[in-house]
Symmetry: C2
Subunit: 188 residues, 2 copies
DNA sequence: CTCCTTTATTAACAAATGTGAATGCGCATG
DNA sequence: CATGCGCATTCACATTTGTTAATAAAGGAG
C-alpha cells in the first residue's frame, strides 16, 4: 500500500529509521467503503486518521435532513473532529467516506503515548495543527468578504481536484450556496 | 491596574506564587489610545498581548479603502496575528485600539523563553489556542450555514457587550454585511 | 437493453442583501 | 450659538442568491 504518512511528516522535520518504524507501528491501517463512517454525529471523536488514498466528507444533518458539508479530507490530509477530540464533547458532525478510502488510524490515547517515544512527533503535529488553523481562518475570511462566485473561483484554483471528485451539490453546500446557484455560477 | 491575566491562566491549571511572579515579570504593560496600532498590515507579528481593559479591532483594508473587520479583542482576550507570528510572513491585517486599552505584552521570543522557566505555561497556552481554534471553526460554520439575520441574533446573544461598544458599521463588516443591511435587520 | 434513481441544469419567481442617495441626529469644535 | 462631521437610518432600486418545479442527462440494477 501507499505510504504518504512518513513523507508528509518529513516535510516538517527529519526522522530516524527507528522513529519512522515506531510511528508506522502505532497506526492501524483501516479501509472505508463509500458511505462507511469514520465518526458519527453525537459520538466522541477519539481517533485521528491520516488519509493515504480516498476522500472523506465532514457534514452535519440539518433539521430538514440535508447534509451540510463542513469539509473534505483527501490523500495527505488528517481527519478528526478536533473539538470533540480535545474537549471530550460529542461531535456535532459526522465524517464518512465518499470514495473508497485507506487511512492510517491512531487513537488519541496512543498518539499521546507515541509522543513519549518520539518527542519530535509532538512538535510536528503542532506545526500541522497550526497550518490547519491558519487555513481555517482564511476560510472564515473568504465567507465573510467574498461572494459565492469568488469563493467558487478560489476553490477552482486551489483545489480543482475536489471539483472533479465530489458531486456538485456537495460542493455547493461546502461553498454555502444552493446547488442551483452553483449551476448558475458555473455557466459563466 | 487590573490583573486579569493570572486568573485567566488559573482557569486552565494551577500556578505557584513563584510561577505567577515570573509570568507577570515577563510581560510589559502597554497602553493604547484609540487608533493606536498594536500591529500594522504588512509588518511581522512578533508579539502577543493579553488585554486587561479596552477593545482592539483586527481589520484589513479593502481595495476601495474600507476597513474590513476580521475580529475584535476585549478584556480577557489574547491578541496577535497568529499566521504571521507562526510563519514569519507579513501580517495580512492590522490590529488597532478602538477604546483606550491596557494590555500585557510579551514578545514571541520571550514567551518561548518563559516556557522554559514555567513549563506548565506552554500547556496552558496550547489549551487556549485550541479553544480559539474551535471558536474559529464555529464562526466559519456560522458564515456558511446561517443568514445575516441569524448571525446577528447569535452575536446579540453571545457577545451583547460588543454591540454596545462598537460602531454599527464595524459590527456590520464583522458580520459580513453592509451597514444598511444591519440597520434593516435591527429594525425588527 | 430498459427502467429507475440520482444528479445537474434551466427557468420563473421570491427573498435577501447590496448600492447610492437623502435625511436626521448627536456631538465636537470654532 | 452655529457649523460641520460622522454615524445611523430610510428609501428606491439593482444584484445576488434561494426556492420551486420541470426537464435533461447520467449511471446503476435488474
Amino acid at each position: 500500500m501507499t505510504n504518504l504518512l512518513i513523507p508528509h511528516l518529513l516535510q516538517y522535520d527529519t526522522l530516524t529509521e527507528s522513529e519512522t518504524t515506531r510511528i508506522l507501528q502505532s497506526f492501524e491501517v483501516v479501509s472505508f467503503d463509500p458511505n462507511d463512517y469514520f465518526l458519527k454525529e453525537g459520538e466522541l471523536s477519539q481517533k485521528v486518521a491520516f488519509i493515504e488514498t480516498g476522500l472523506l466528507m465532514y457534514y452535519k444533518s440539518s433539521e430538514e435532513g440535508e447534509e451540510l458539508v463542513c469539509d473534505f479530507g483527501m490523500e495527505n490530509d488528517w481527519a478528526t473532529q478536533y473539538q470533540s477530540l480535545i474537549s471530550g464533547a460529542k461531535s456535532p458532525m459526522s465524517i464518512k467516506a465518499i470514495e473508497p478510502t485507506v487511512a492510517r488510524v491512531i487513537s488519541f490515547t496512543n498518539l499521546n503515548q507515541l509522543y513519549l517515544t518520539v518527542p519530535k512527533l509532538e512538535q510536528i503535529v503542532r506545526q500541522i495543527i497550526d497550518k490547519i488553523f491558519i487555513q481555517m481562518m482564511k476560510r472564515t475570511g473568504d465567507f465573510q468578504f467574498l461572494k459565492a462566485e469568488e469563493r467558487y473561483a478560489k476553490m477552482s484554483a486551489e483545489t480543482p481536484a475536489l471539483l472533479q471528485r465530489v458531486p456538485q451539490y456537495y460542493i455547493a453546500s461546502y461553498l454555502g450556496i444552493a446547488p442551483q446557484s452553483l449551476s448558475r455560477i458555473r455557466k459563466k
